[in-house]
């Protein structure tokens, strides 16, 4: 009887596992070494338009190709790599780039807590954030 009950529970678990993993949502699989979280400056965080964000450049120069715009958390190379006032970073799509250092501030949670931000490989295979 006990074995039958266990089999039932096992079967139920197998059947529900895809549903449960979906309900779990996006989650960090592992930390990505060599990166650290920084935060855009307050003005950029409040921007309502893309054009108000500091661009990400392909090279550490204002004349270099613009490859996109940052998200609020900027994954910088760690230890920090600085050149011409630009900081080496990696975008959410994994593309390396450079952002003006004066648009960055040390990362801190917006609620003032003492959690830590970890650049992570997410369950969807892309870069993302995990704050603990």
């Amino acid at each position: 009887m006990g074995r039958m009950k266990s089999a039932w529970l096992f079967g139920l678990g197998v059947a529900l596992s895809p549903i449960l993993s979906f309900a779990q949502g996006l989650h960090a699989v592992r930390a990505v070494p060599g990166l650290a979280c920084m935060l855009l400056d307050n003005k950029s965080l409040e921007a309502t338009q893309q054009s108000a964000l500091p661009p990400v450049f392909a090279e550490p120069s204002r004349g270099a190709t613009r490859i996109g715009y940052p998200s609020s958390v900027v994954f910088v190379r760690w230890p920090l790599v600085e050149k011409n006032g630009f900081v080496a970073m990696v975008r959410l799509n994994g593309q390396p780039g450079w952002i003006a250092g004066d648009h960055l501030q040390p990362w801190h949670p917006m609620n003032g807590g003492n959690a830590k931000c970890t650049p992570s490989l997410m369950s969807n295979g892309r870069l993302g954030t995990s704050i603990r």
């Binding site: 893309q50 998200s71 993302g128």
Partner: protein, 297 residues
């Protein structure tokens, strides 16, 4: 549309096929008990081989009855159309060559646009049809635009509330509206003749909102999300380009308050203890079946 199974390759009614079918039925009925009784595979194989070699004509009372199951095609839900309007997704209305949607009956180009509960709500507004046309002209799934007005105002042309300067059906701030309407006008110059360009005009706001969603979807694509959904882009619309993009790639167990300032949380009725996953669930509940649809059409 009804999909019928069993029609392809079936020459029902011909004498030859009726006889073949009757023979096959006789064979099956002769050997089925053996199979059903649990005989070994060898026995079954030998029996069938023998039967095939010694077929004899049989008579039967006509061909067996053919069962044709019918399955309703999964499609968009029924719309309740305001009287006097033409559903642009119907494909059978007066719009001529079809709307180009997946569900249209015409010879359209096949966009990603599809129906949703949110779209139904927007269609009930006097400017709903115009908003749909503008969305499609800008390459945006109309359901994404509809979902935005549903969440922001219930698609009502309301004024600003509280300390925020955001106003209208899409609750846009004047600076954002002006910039996005100008961008939309650049993408689709015909807007100049169909909208007033004023923030209090819902059709103008719909165009500006569609442009904003487009920029959001493109920003998320640029961040590695290949086909952003309405839910993905919702954070961009709600919290701006930098925070919105980050939330789309945040752990669902992270707190919203770790990404969004307390003043913005309060303005949006989000409690400090709400997680990213909980916020996404509540947005999905408001948006309904448009949440998972692609923004770009």
């Amino acid at each position: 549309m009804i999909i019928r199974f069993g029609e392809v390759g079936c020459a029902a009614g011909s004498k030859e096929s009726s006889e073949k079918r009757a023979r096959r039925q006789a064979l099956v009925s002769r050997w089925l008990p053996l199979i059903g009784a649990g005989s070994g595979g060898l026995l079954v194989a030998a029996a069938l081989a023998g039967a095939a070699a010694a077929q004899t004509p049989v008579t039967s009372n006509g061909p067996p009855r053919e069962v044709i199951p019918q399955v309703g095609e999964v499609g968009m839900p029924n719309f309740t159309m305001p009287s006097g309007t033409t559903n642009p997704f119907d494909g059978s209305g007066g719009s001529g060559a079809g709307s180009g949607t997946d569900t249209g009956g015409g010879d359209g180009s096949g966009s990603n646009a599809s129906g949703s509960d949110a779209l139904n709500t927007m269609l009930n507004q006097p400017w709903g049809i115009q908003a749909i046309n503008e969305s499609e002209a800008l390459g945006i799934n109309p359901s994404a635009v509809a979902a935005t007005c549903v969440v922001e105002s219930g698609c009502q042309n309301v004024g600003a509330s509280g300390a925020s300067s955001a106003t209208g059906a899409f609750q846009m701030m004047p600076s954002t509206f002006n910039a996005m309407y100008a961008a939309a006008l650049q993408d689709d110059p015909s807007l100049a003749s169909t909208t007033t360009g004023g923030i209090d005009d819902p059709a103008s706001q719909a165009a500006a909102a569609a442009e904003y969603l487009k920029q959001g979807a493109q920003q998320l694509q640029n961040a590695g999300i290949s086909n952003p959904s309405v839910l993905d882009v919702r954070g961009y619309y709600n919290f701006g380009p930098s925070v919105g993009t980050q939330i789309a790639q945040a752990s669902s167990s992270d707190l919203m308050s770790q990404y969004v300032s307390s003043s913005v949380l309060a303005a949006n009725g989000i409690s400090p203890g709400e997680t990213v996953g909980q916020w996404q669930a509540s947005v999905s509940a408001k948006i309904g079946n448009a949440a998972g649809q692609a923004v770009l059409s």
